[in-house]
């Protein structure tokens, strides 16, 4: 796993020391808030509704057991004993005091973590498939490229003041688990014969104007990655709008100029920039790849697991949702749900973090991943160990068998924490999860992705939820808009607005009407919600929501 070099270490320490001095100058009044605000944001420190919030990057979602323990230690020492994993592979602490933040940043630096580039109009923390390095369907591990991009973009002079923030996601498989089509740049590793390269997408994004990324290059040779990214970003830096915050993202630049014009301009830049990349980046990449070498997988006979599966229905139910095929047959990928019914999606207590670190060490070669779906992954578990792991997770209340089901909801912090929110999201998620558990319909409904955002910024990815929920403020009352048919995978689509919004206490009944209609309409229990929706369109669901006549009313 990637270890920070001496240079990285020195850089982090210097940033920590700088910020400590800046906080002191803020507290003694020599810095005004206007002067201090950009400095704290550069270090991931926000001021939210009730308190400060520190956003810590988990680069490409990868954590070691040691780092996870440190996150637990921070939660206990300087926060309220928990942390919140976000849709961008970050962890947020909701209650730090300004005076404690320099100590927290030091504690993070002790384990090679930081809060840099989690804010501001720069290239943000690069996100990756959370099954990276483990998935059976993967062509290559995307994380070395993510790390290469991180090193290239960190403090890159040209890209510190982009028109807007800039987000890159990368996956190594055709199956898109990193929502690359909803990022400013999406990268998919592809193979052409023996050669490895990238399919490059540009101009995706959610928020006020949701757009699916478009292909700018079908096949980019591996060694052209950085010059091509630099060409895209500098083209955007030139063509992007700075006159209007809402039109400044690259998706608008691509949309307004058209993908062909944007591609032509990018290729022109690329031709100019390519010679400047002498191959140092490729030497660097080779070094990084070596650091991501997989662990030495032990060859344990999976027979005991198969035997346990046959007799233990609880293990079976959990394995059906949580266990995914690994690229090595004797192993599996385990997704641990942070969505116990009624809990806050993505929250983990310090105890849970520590348990997960212990289990990663006992059964998972010390590795952990955080998914954009706000769950934790043990990427390499010998199948033989799955029964023991399941028992240990059960004891720690971490064995909820709901991955990919109605209660595995993405929810942003919403108005319970976020200063930008127009309504709450967390209690809506909690309510839906417990409601369908009480009805006992979760298994029957099957694969479903509900995603909830507390404002139009769409951190909860509601546009790409099979069912999306967007909380708004309508004349001083919380109101929720429902979208249907969104999809964040390789078959990406933006959800369609179902019709007028619902009051806070009408949301759960509305979701129930949609899902009961689905149960009636599906051809077989194997047809998932999204397929039924795509087969029939929105109308039957609108009727379920608003009654007959809905066609005219909406």
């Amino acid at each position: 796993m990637y270890n920070y070099s001496d240079f990285d270490e020195a850089f982090l320490r210097e940033r920590c020391a700088q910020f400590r001095a800046q906080v002191e100058r803020r507290l003694d009044g020599s810095l005004t808030e206007e002067e201090f605000r950009p400095l704290r944001l550069m270090n991931g420190l926000y001021l939210q509704l009730h308190a400060y919030m520190l956003r810590v990057a988990i680069p490409y979602g990868t954590l070691s057991a040691r780092q996870m323990r440190q996150l637990a230690h921070i939660a206990e020492t300087w926060d309220k004993g928990y942390g919140h994993f976000t849709t961008r592979q970050n962890i947020q602490y909701n209650w730090p005091k300004l005076t404690d933040v320099p100590d927290i940043l030091d504690a993070l630096a002790d384990v090679g973590l930081h809060a840099i580039q989690t804010s501001g109009n720069c290239i943000r923390n690069v996100t990756a498939d959370h099954f990276a390095g483990a998935a059976a369907d993967e062509i290559a591990d995307p994380r070395p490229y993510a790390e290469l991009i991180r090193q290239w973009s960190t403090d890159h002079p040209e890209f510190q003041f982009l028109p807007r923030k800039f987000k890159i996601a990368i996956t190594g498989a055709e199956a898109d688990r990193a929502v690359i089509r909803a990022h400013d740049i999406g990268l998919q590793i592809v193979a052409r014969g023996e050669e490895i390269g990238f399919k490059v997408l540009v101009g995706g994004g959610l928020g006020r104007t949701p757009l699916i990324g478009q292909v700018i290059r079908d096949f980019l040779p591996e060694s052209d990655l950085l010059p091509y990214l630099e060409a895209i970003v500098s083209t955007y830096n030139l063509m992007g709008r700075r006159d209007n915050k809402y039109k400044a993202r690259i998706k608008i630049t691509v949309f307004e100029n058209g993908i062909d014009a944007f591609r032509d301009a990018t290729e022109e830049q690329f031709a100019r920039l390519r010679p400047a990349f002498s191959g140092v980046d490729q030497a660097l990449l080779a070094g990084i790849k070596a650091q991501f070498a997989p662990p030495a997988f032990r060859n344990a006979d999976p027979a005991p697991y198969e035997a346990a599966l046959a007799v233990d229905p609880l293990l079976r139910a959990w394995a059906r949702q949580s266990v995914t095929a690994h690229r090595v047959d004797s192993h599996a990928i385990v997704t641990v749900s942070l969505k116990a019914h009624g809990q806050t999606p993505g929250d983990a207590s310090a105890d849970q973090m520590r348990t997960l670190a212990d289990l990663a060490e006992a059964y998972g070669y010390g590795e952990l991943r955080i998914s954009h779906e706000q769950n934790v992954i043990l990427p390499h578990v010998a199948r033989a160990d799955l029964p023991a792991l399941f028992e240990a997770l059960r004891k720690a209340d971490l064995a909820t068998a709901n991955i990919g089901l109605v209660s595995d909801i993405i929810a942003c912090p919403g108005m319970d924490y976020c200063a930008l929110a127009t309504a709450r999201s967390i209690p809506v998620a909690q309510g839906i999860a417990t409601h369908f558990q009480t009805l006992g319909l979760e298994q029957e409904i099957g694969a479903l992705k509900i995603k909830i955002s507390g404002c139009i910024n769409a951190c909860g990815h509601h546009h790409v939820g099979h069912i999306g929920i967007l909380g708004l403020d309508r004349a001083g009352v919380e109101n929720y808009q429902i979208t249907l048919g969104g999809d964040g995978t390789e078959t990406a689509s933006i959800g369609e607005r179902a019709g007028p919004g619902f009051a806070y206490d009408e949301v759960i009944p509305a979701i129930e009407r949609i899902l009961r209609a689905y149960l009636d309409l599906r051809t077989t229990p194997e047809e998932p919600f999204l397929e039924t929706y795509r087969r029939l369109g929105a109308q039957p669901f609108k009727t379920a929501l608003y009654g007959e006549g809905a066609r005219h009313a909406a």
């Binding site: 009044g29 001021l47 005091k97 001083g476």
Partner: protein
């Protein structure tokens, strides 16, 4: 014709802790909405806000929030401000934590 002025309180976040605070009639900062000064006059509201903005070493982001009189003091009118008087709804953290001990 000018619209009727909605009464206001001055609110901000505490610089050190980030907690929500309100300006009292005595010019002090309080953590309780009910102890805030309910300002019924637009010109006075602007003056009080200026006073708050003049304390950057104590408060962050002061602004005027709508409020109305209540039996125990001013009450928030908008749900966002109501949440700010309590804390989040998923845990008893923030102001409600102290209120319930």
């Amino acid at each position: 014709m000018s619209r009727k002025f909605t009464p206001k309180v001055v609110t901000a976040n505490d610089l050190r802790e980030g907690d929500v605070i309100y300006l009292t009639a005595a010019g002090e900062w309080t953590r309780e909405h009910a102890q805030a000064e309910l300002i019924e006059d637009e010109a006075i509201a602007e003056l009080r806000l200026l006073k708050a903005m003049g304390q950057p070493d104590r408060v962050v982001g002061p602004y005027l929030a709508d409020a109305r009189p209540g039996p125990n003091g001013p009450e928030p009118t908008h749900f966002r401000e109501a949440f700010r008087t309590r804390g989040p709804s998923n845990y008893a953290h923030g102001k409600q934590e102290r209120a319930h001990v």
